[in-house]
Amino acid sequence: MKKGWLVFLLLLSAHALAVPVEIKVNLRVGDRPLQWGQTYQTPQGQRYQIDLLKFYISEVALVRPDGREVRVDGLALAEFKRDGPTQGVSVMKLDVPAGQYRGLRFNVGVPRELNHLDAGTQQLPLGVNSGMYWAWNPGYIFYRLEGTALLPEGNQKWVIHMGTDTFRIPVRLHDLQTRRVQINIPPGGGVIVLNLDVARAFEPGPGGVFVDWRKQPLRQLHGLSPETSLLMSVVYFNMQTAFSLAQ
């Protein structure tokens, strides 16, 4: 009986110590803030604009200095639409104990156990109304980046729809060894600001391969198709370093 009360009190105190924390995202192109309608250039000299970005963030955990993790349930859908804000956009709210952390980790994507549920029966941020359900391929698009390529022959829409369990992107922004990463959550709660460099997707891969929008099939990067999987893997690899903690 005494043990039960002890557990109850411990749970109560842990809950009482949890403070609200907000994760915000700044969209960047390189080190500059993303601006809708602005024309950018890939390392290969192809000009483009960004039209839409949506992605799931899930399996978030803050990492304590001793390596233990404070894991956060739930997932959120981050949405950036043309003419909407691109800086300091709130993407997820969580409750964690105040204190010092050595960073955080999360996945861009939907956990496997949620990814294959019947999307017709799911509520936002999942479900078909999210605009992230894939329809021809069971599961959700995890990272949806769309834009316009300004090619000599005319403007062409392009999309990068990354999904399937293979392409769930692990983002690791913690450092237990060098003390370079410090996140302080004050007793009153706090904000963690992330930078996301959307242009990282276009960095060349092994052998200099890149997303060449002059080729029609490469304007539709999605799924596991052998036609485009090499480039999808390049984008996937690049995306793992596209997020950083804002200073």
Binding site: D118, A119, G120, T121, G127, V128, N129, S130, G131, Y133, A135, W136, N137, P138, K157, V159, T166, G223, L224, S225, P226, E227, S229
Partner: protein, 351 residues
């Protein structure tokens, strides 16, 4: 005293008989619409998912949506633009369909005949139900191209739709509700009144001699159509490589699985109303039924992923003609002219 047990037995039997007579029984499924042709394939009824019960109001709403071009980004494309009733809800004569802003698709629009019975949807067969399949064309950039928010706002601004969604779903329009209503309508696209069905029902005159010979071939190892085109709808719903090409431009199921062995695999289509759904194959590359039969008779093109059943069949020209005659006997014109399935008000467009 000795006769009392007999009285009790009689009484119990009487009560039992009365109970049997009056016991409530599950009624046979009602016809999906009043003018449905008689379904000859026994008492086969379309499976209805628990989360999307069929109601007349929902079917009516789905029918309006199906024929409404306002469900597309540039107001030019409805579901019915590529699934036309007169072609058994396929895209009559077109290899691939045209979506918004004149954008061409890459695949042939399949018939929706008996689509409510399909276990796998899309040419890859990767969608498990009609409600989820409908998300694809409604949102694809080369089909109807609407984001969920835009679709919901557009329908909410049309008073008749706003009211209909409230009445049917108890909520405002949304992509989800749209797909549920369209799926409900699609489950009424039932066709079982072809000459073949009438022959099955006992009408010996329903099939021509050529069609009868074709039927024998179809279900024989020589013709060997029936291993894949099996069951009441002549499909096993499974993806197969039919050796259409040696190198497939459209890689089919592999697009979703990433597996080399799935390159060139596409779902076996139903053959009901197949004479109305030319051109054929996943890309509409074969113009006539006769050419399709000839493709299988030749054994297709060399392909490592080709289905094991694909091989030269050795059919004579007469046998090819007979098979075509049988395939033509799967046509159900009462389906394509059924008023309950045509555009509401005879026009389509506005609800």
């Amino acid at each position: 005293m000795r006769r009392r047990p007999m009285v009790w037995v009689g009484l119990l039997l009487g009560v039992g008989l009365l109970g049997w007579y009056f016991w409530p029984r599950s009624a046979p499924p009602p016809p999906l619409h009043p003018s449905s042709p008689r379904i000859l394939f026994a008492e086969r009824s379309v499976p209805i998912p628990e989360d999307n019960p069929q109601t007349p109001a929902k079917v009516a709403l789905g029918r309006k949506l199906f024929y409404d071009t306002r469900l597309s980004k540039d107001n030019t494309v409805a579901c019915a633009s590529c699934h036309k009733p007169e072609f058994a809800f396929s895209d009559g004569g077109k290899a691939v369909s045209t979506g918004i802003f004149g954008r061409k698709g890459t695949r042939n629009a399949p018939t929706l005949t008996n689509v409510g019975f399909r276990r796998h949807l899309f040419w890859e067969g990767r969608s498990p139900r009609l409600e989820l399949q409908a998300v694809g064309p409604l949102t694809a950039h080369d089909e109807m191209g609407l984001e969920p928010e835009e679709l919901a706002q557009r329908l909410q601004a049309i008073p008749e739709y706003a009211q209909a969604f409230r009445e049917v779903f108890g909520e405002p329009p949304s992509l989800r509700a749209v797909t549920y209503a369209i799926a409900a309508f699609e489950r009424t696209l039932v066709s079982y009144n072809s000459p073949f069905d009438r022959y099955q029902a006992g009408d010996d005159q329903a099939l021509s001699p050529a069609a009868l010979r074709g039927m024998e071939l179809f279900f024989s190892e020589k013709g060997d159509c029936f291993h894949c085109h099996v069951g009441p709808d002549f499909t096993d719903d499974e993806p197969r490589n039919t050796a259409l090409y040696t190198v497939y431009k459209d890689i089919g199921l592999a697009r979703a699985t990433g597996k080399d062995e799935d390159v060139g695999k596409f779902k076996t289509p139903t053959l009901r109303n197949v004479a109305l759904t030319a051109p054929y194959m996943h890309d509409g590359s074969i113009r006539t039924l006769r050419e399709v039969v000839q493709h299988y008779n030749r054994g297709g093109e060399p392909n490592l992923n080709a289905d094991a059943l694909i091989r030269p069949l050795g059919l004579t020209d007469q046998e090819v003609d007979d098979l075509v005659a049988f395939l033509e006997a799967l046509t159900d014109t009462s389906f394509t002219t059924n008023p309950a399935l045509l555009p509401p008000g005879g026009q389509g467009g506005a609800p």
